[in-house]
């Protein structure tokens, strides 16, 4: 039996030089990031320093890491606003599980599990939230924004119950504080930053080079067509929610380790910042468009804008206003640039 695809001769040499719209937007966002950096270097005293450049990334390792899961979900056409809550939940869980049993008061009494088990338990809690997201979005077909707002509160709520609304930071084993404070490359870069870099590389690889990444775009671009093309959409979206929750869980564990405490308000508004950097990076909430690299550049843009602004004259209170203006300008510019390019 002759198959249809084999009925065609091998492809001719590819001379196609046109960039896809997505690559175009990513480059645009990257160029804006570099441009902003140069402008900031000219205007802001002491901005153009190596350490400052490093800080732009290292100060934001948590949000950038969360941005990876959020970006994948946005590309698949779904929101994930639960990540900030999951950060709090897993951090608090890791503390509570690792705290020695039989402390002086309820907040210093934990379950006394070995640290690895505590981490496993924390990640289990994170995955449970991810599974809830998947259940409500995929099975009950509730809009993802409402589901993940609910699970955001649920996760943070559990964290608040465990910490009685404040934090747990006593009676911890010594190894608890190791992971988050480990430094590499001559004590200048923390382990979490290295993990973030590894995650970014892995995410770009998954996005560009694996079937999993490609399926994400198909599902987000046209869910019906994806199903009719043999893609198991429900399973894929469920996996993405678990993926995002796992990242958030690890971030939570690392932050808890860094501060040697489980604080129930940790990660507040991180879900919002993760969404903001994805939007700045050209990810479309309609699904099927955007990239992890763009999200990374978006994070850099936001970091430059906020740090340059505070380095100039503005108080840190400007950050909300600046974010709003930046997202607004980014959306308008990207829409305009794409319309112009495809005219």
């Amino acid at each position: 039996m002759s198959s249809i695809a084999e009925g065609f001769p091998p492809a001719a040499k590819n001379r196609d030089r046109r960039l896809s719209d997505e690559a175009f937007i990513t480059i645009l966002v990257g160029a804006v990031a570099v441009g902003l950096f140069l402008v900031a270097s000219l205007l802001v005293p002491n901005f153009f320093q190596f350490q400052n450049m490093v800080n732009l990334v290292t100060n934001n390792w948590a949000v950038i890491s969360l941005g990876v899961g959020v970006t994948f979900l946005l590309v698949s056409g779904n929101f994930d606003l639960s990540v900030g809550g999951v950060v709090a939940l897993s951090g608090v869980l890791s503390v509570w599980l690792a705290q020695a049993a039989g402390g002086a008061n309820p907040l210093s009494t934990g379950l006394g599990l070995p640290y690895p088990l505590a981490v496993a338990g924390a990640l289990g809690g994170a995955l449970a939230i991810g599974a809830l997201n998947a259940l409500f979005v995929v099975q009950f077909r509730v809009p993802s924004i409402i589901v993940t707002l609910g699970t955001m509160m649920l996760a943070r709520g559990v964290a608040q119950v465990i910490t009685h609304g404040s934090q747990r930071n006593t009676n911890l084993p010594v190894e608890f504080g190791v992971l988050g404070n480990l430094t590499v490359f001559g004590a200048s870069i923390k382990l979490p930053v290295v993990l973030m870099a590894a995650l970014l590389i892995a995410a770009v690889f998954i996005e560009k080079k694996t079937v999993f990444g490609r399926i994400t775009y198909w599902v987000g671009s046209n869910p019906v067509a994806a199903t009719l093309s043999g893609i198991d959409r429900a399973r894929h979206v469920a996996r993405l929610y678990l993926f995002s929750a796992t990242i958030a869980g690890v971030v939570g564990v690392l932050l808890a380790s860094e501060f040697k405490s489980g604080y129930s308000n940790r990660g507040t508004l991180m879900e919002f910042d993760a969404l903001v950097i994805a939007l700045l990076g050209g990810v479309a909430i309609a699904g099927g468009f955007g990239s992890v690299l763009g999200m990374f550049f978006g994070a850099i843009i936001l970091a430059i804008v906020t740090s340059a602004a505070t380095g100039l004259v503005l108080s840190p209170d400007w950050q909300y206003t600046l974010k709003a203006i930046a997202v607004f300008l980014a959306i308008m510019t990207q829409t305009w640039a794409l319309a112009r390019r495809n005219r």
């Binding site: 002759s2 198959s3 079937v211 490609r214 198909w218 994806a226 093309s229 043999g230 479309a284």
Partner: protein, 509 residues
């Protein structure tokens, strides 16, 4: 509102006329210098094969398309609508297949929507309510004006929309295949409504392929063929179905079908007793290397057969493909060697936000990957190859699919299916919304594929397509497989049309 007017007097007055109306698209004169007039208080049927220009004509009447040249007049005045609201204000309302009622409002609220009387933004009771209710009662007394529209059947919703049009002062109501989703009893009720409208001096332009309905309604008929006006006559002067079909076909030469000798003996797919919400006991076989056609009107069950074979919809009965049951999901169907080009290109087939290159490999991930790693070089090669072979006109494989023309988009969807290496291709309306050039290219591709040993099922509502392409044609009417025609020079085209339009003495081989 619905006052009875003397029949004879009203029926001589012209309510709507078109003269030399022409609409061209690149390479086609979809409507070519059409002139006819419609009299007040009559039912005026519009018939013609698919592609004869009916829908283009209707789009011009409703303001969705502007004519290239020619003129329209309504109630004696120039008529040049730029959008459907315009058309409504000039007195032309349209009953689309997709209903425009608000489910969450009551019947009465729907009837007055957009016409309310108000003071300071608050609704005031006026004679409007009484007027619309009495119109509704005159048309269909059984519908409760206080009921929520979501609790009504499709047929009842249609009637709500019709009485809305009637009470908003529409002098012409266009109905585009209104019975496609109705049961027989509901069709009778709709016809009673149409007769009452006629009695109230409202003109109904009725578009349908079901010839029995047209004869049942009476009035006038205008026949279009290849964009041209063939005749406008009182139905009483048309000597039966055969004569009407004769006018619709008007030629003996169809797109030439040359018998193919690639058809094998091996039966590749067997379907037995397919039955679901639409289908009624449908059984057939498809042979290896064969092009079979499923031909029928809108709502006859073509898409449902395609979806059943592809594992999308549930059904009773059995389908075996190469001796094994097909999967109950598209994924399973694709794995066993079946691929579908769906009916709705933009919503079901194409990934519009992605590039041509990214669209193509989705149905064959096994070939696109090694251990989960995506082979981009393969993707580029495949896309480049398909762009060349299928003559997809684009300057780049990295162009977003939404920027392509309809024909090129369809070729991308086709390429997607071809890449799946399927042995049986299900093509649902493969050339809908595709220009003539791309159309014949797609036909060539289909023949080549069949000659290479693949089996193709074409689901089409275009007679030309079925007769020009298919080795055998299954004729469908209202969910039943009525007859099988072996294509050849001596096919009785009139008989085919007779069967698919609901003719009773269909013969099954």
């Amino acid at each position: 509102m619905l006052d009875l007017i003397d029949d004879k007097a009203q029926q001589t007055e012209v309510v709507l006329s078109v003269s030399d109306l022409t609409r061209t698209f690149p390479g086609v004169r979809a409507v070519d210098a059409v002139s006819f007039s419609v009299r007040r208080g009559t039912v005026h049927c519009l018939v013609g094969e698919n592609g004869a220009g009916k829908s283009t004509l209707v789009k011009m009447l409703t303001g969705a398309l502007r004519p290239t040249s020619g003129a329209m007049r309504i109630n004696g005045a120039e008529y040049d609508p730029t959008n459907p609201q315009d058309a409504r204000q000039c007195g032309i309302a349209t009953l689309f297949q997709e209903l425009h009622v608000v489910d969450e409002l009551t019947v009465l609220e729907n009837l007055t929507l957009g016409m309310e009387r108000s003071r300071f933004g608050f609704l005031v009771r006026s004679d409007l309510e009484d007027r619309v209710v009495s119109t509704l009662k005159a048309i269909e007394p059984s519908i409760d004006p206080a009921a929520r529209v979501s609790s009504l059947s499709v047929a009842q919703k249609q009637i709500v929309e019709i009485s809305r049009a009637a009470s908003s002062g529409a002098s012409v109501i266009i109905m585009d295949e209104p019975t496609a989703a109705l049961s027989e009893r509901e069709v009778d009720r709709l016809f009673a409504v149409i007769r009452r409208l006629r009695a109230a001096a409202v003109t109904v332009i009725y578009i349908s392929h079901k010839l029995d309905e047209i004869f049942a309604l009476g009035g006038f008929v205008t026949v279009l063929r290849d964009g041209k006006h063939i005749a406008t006559r009182p139905l009483a002067e048309v000597a039966g179905r055969a004569a009407l079909i004769e006018m619709m076909i008007g030629r003996t030469v169809f797109q030439s079908y040359t018998p193919r000798d690639g058809v094998g003996d091996e039966i590749i797919l067997t379907a037995r007793g397919l039955t679901n919400g639409v289908l009624r006991d449908v059984s057939f076989d498809i042979r290896q290397g064969e092009i079979v056609g499923f031909y029928g009107l809108v709502g006859a069950g073509k898409t449902e057969i395609a979806r059943a074979l592809f594992g999308v919809d549930r059904f009773a009965g059995s389908v075996t493909f190469k001796g094994r049951p097909v999967g109950n999901s598209p994924k399973g169907a694709i794995a066993s060697g079946v691929a579908l080009v769906p009916e709705e290109r933009r919503t079901q087939g194409l990934f519009t936000s992605l590039t041509i290159r990214e669209n193509i490999p989705v149905m064959n991930l096994r070939r696109m990957s090694r251990a989960g790693i995506y082979r981009k070089a393969e993707e580029i090669a495949a896309a480049t190859d398909f762009v060349r072979r299928l003559r997809i006109s684009t300057d780049s494989i990295n162009k977003r699919a939404e920027k392509l023309s309809g024909g090129n988009q369809q070729k991308v969807v086709l390429a997607k299916c071809l890449f799946s290496e399927a042995e049986l291709l299900l093509l649902d309306e493969p050339t809908r919304g595709v220009d003539v050039g791309a159309k014949s290219e797609i036909y060539d591709i289909i023949r080549d594929l069949a000659d290479a040993g693949n089996s193709i099922a074409v689901f089409s509502s275009e007679l030309d397509e079925a007769l020009g392409l298919c080795d055998r044609i299954f004729l469908l009417f209202s969910g039943r497989l009525q007859a099988v025609v072996v294509n050849g020079p001596d096919v009785d085209v009139a008989h085919v049309l007779h069967v698919v339009t609901g003719g009773t003495e269909g013969t099954v081989e």
